[in-house]
């Protein structure tokens, strides 16, 4: 890679180790010497894991996939913040140049009753999938594709829907929230369809069913601290939560159905 800063630092990693969701976990300390500041945080963990494997020890389990900030798999809670100290990035896009020589870095899994720990730093986020399955889709009739300009959408609405759709479902909002609330995630998924004409048919059912599933999964309740918005790697706005509240209040009270 061009433009290497060529610096190496020493850091101490305090990482959460937990065999499975039923066992109690604890922190494990590892000294990382000569870490290149050009490494991503996950690459630093790769180095740690290779060392652990060579030593015949159990490597640290953590989620990752694309490593380019778009899949939403990486999920570490670093020094008291989801995805670490930088704003608007996922853990894979966090680099060791964001840390100083001699830093002690505490790494924990997302902590939420609805995200049980599978192992170490890997948590089960299938509660998000079940919320999506409850209503985060549009039903489309089969047949020929319609002409793109048949349905006109105001630019502002399209932009808003696109911004909401930028959510990668990583769960940082839940991790950051003092109440472990999933309302930023659910509201983004409600909004991206509520703003578009294609989402109107199932609009009321969608918000009712998704909120019902969200509550059933055991997520907490939003108190509008704004921590989720500040920590979201995709900058999903709190406006979405207000929109979801509006949609839900409308669907439960004013909407003309049983």
């Amino acid at each position: 890679m061009a433009g290497s800063s060529g610096k190496n630092i020493n850091v101490t990693i305090k990482v959460w180790r937990q065999k499975n969701k039923n066992q109690k976990g604890q922190f494990e300390t590892h000294e990382m010497k000569g870490v290149s500041t050009d490494m991503s945080f996950l690459e630093m963990f790769d180095v740690l894991n290779e060392r652990l494997i060579t030593e015949g020890k159990d490597p640290v389990a953590f989620d990752h996939d694309c490593r380019e900030g778009i899949c939403g798999m990486c999920s570490m809670y670093i020094n008291g913040r989801p995805h670490g100290p930088k704003q608007g990035v996922t853990t894979c896009q966090l680099h060791m140049r964001s840390f100083k020589d001699g830093d002690i870095i505490v790494v924990e899994p997302w902590r939420s009753a609805a995200f049980p720990v599978i192992k170490d730093l890997a948590v089960d986020r299938s509660s998000f999938d079940r919320i999506m399955a409850a209503g985060g889709f549009v039903s489309v009739n089969t047949g020929n594709a319609k002409d793109a300009n048949n349905i006109l959408i105001p630019k502002d609405d399209a932009d808003e829907a696109f911004n909401a759709a930028a959510c990668i479902g990583c769960g940082a909002c839940v991790a950051a929230c003092k109440n472990a609330s999933a309302m930023l995630f659910v509201s983004a998924k409600v909004s991206q369809l509520a703003l578009l004409p294609q989402g109107q048919v199932e609009r009321e059912e969608r918000v009712l069913n998704m909120v019902k599933q969200m509550d059933a999964e055991g997520f907490g309740n939003c108190t509008n601290t704004g921590a989720c918005e500040a920590e979201c790697p995709k900058g999903i706005s709190l406006e979405n939560i207000a929109r979801m509240n509006r949609e839900y209040i409308h669907a439960s009270t004013i909407a003309n159905r049983k």
Binding site: Y77, A113, L208, M214, N221, T223, A230, E247, I249
Partner: protein, 226 residues
């Protein structure tokens, strides 16, 4: 499919009650601070006593008072239910949390500030609401102005009362600083044009109202209310 029956038991339904009752209690503060500001007229409490007497005997106000208590209790009950659910949502906490990086301390401490306010309110009702009720039902003459003055000028106890009232006003200020705009957000009233205005009004309200309230006990003690 879910229906409207589950609304008040849902997360958003409970939050809706929180927001609505919170803003209702804010509207009460407007009335309360307006009438109490008559104390600053320094006419020996004449105007203030007349207003207090009207509030204590007017049947419409008495009816609204019941609504106020219902609103307050609903606000407290929902807060308890929501807080317990929130604790359950994260059974194991983090070893390290950097909350200051993403939110204000008072937005994260609404439960604590609310509890302080409740404790303050118990003392406040004991000081002023209860004696007024007793006087109304026993048809005794009483001078509200003198009663207030006595609480804050009673030697050491008076100083303690003034300090507790100032702490109460400070709790109110921070509770409102988050609660005012949070109430609108919860009700879904978020708008590109109006939300920045609501936030500004919220900040001004959260500073001015508790400040005016705090100046009352201080005024009695310092003697600039007479």
């Amino acid at each position: 499919m879910s229906n409207s029956k589950g609304f008040l038991k849902s997360s958003i339904g409970r939050k809706f009650v929180m927001g609505l009752t919170g803003l209702f209690l804010v509207s009460f503060l407007v009335v309360h601070v307006s009438i109490n500001s008559l104390l600053f007229l320094c006419d020996g409490g004449e105007t203030f006593n007349a207003a207090a007497d009207f509030m204590a005997h007017n049947p419409v106000i008495r009816f609204l008072e019941i609504g106020l208590f219902i609103g307050l209790i609903a606000h407290i009950v929902q807060a308890l239910v929501l807080t317990l659910a929130n604790k359950k949502a994260r059974p194991q906490g983090y070893a390290q949390v950097n909350g200051a990086a993403n939110s204000t301390w008072y937005s994260r401490s609404m439960g604590l500030l609310g509890t302080l306010l409740l404790l303050f309110l118990v003392m406040h009702l004991y000081h002023f609401w209860w004696p007024t009720k007793v006087a109304v039902f026993t048809h005794n003459e009483h001078n509200t102005f003198e009663e207030i003055k006595a609480v804050f000028t009673d030697g050491t106890m008076g100083v303690i009362s003034v300090v507790l009232y100032v702490v109460g006003c400070l709790s109110l200020s921070y509770h409102l600083l988050h609660g005012f705009q949070s109430g609108f957000q919860t009700l879904g009233l978020n708008h590109k044009k109006y939300t920045p205005v609501i936030k500004k009004i919220g900040i001004i309200f959260s500073i001015i109202v508790p400040l005016v309230f705090a100046l009352m006990p201080i005024g009695f003690m310092a003697g600039f209310i007479h």
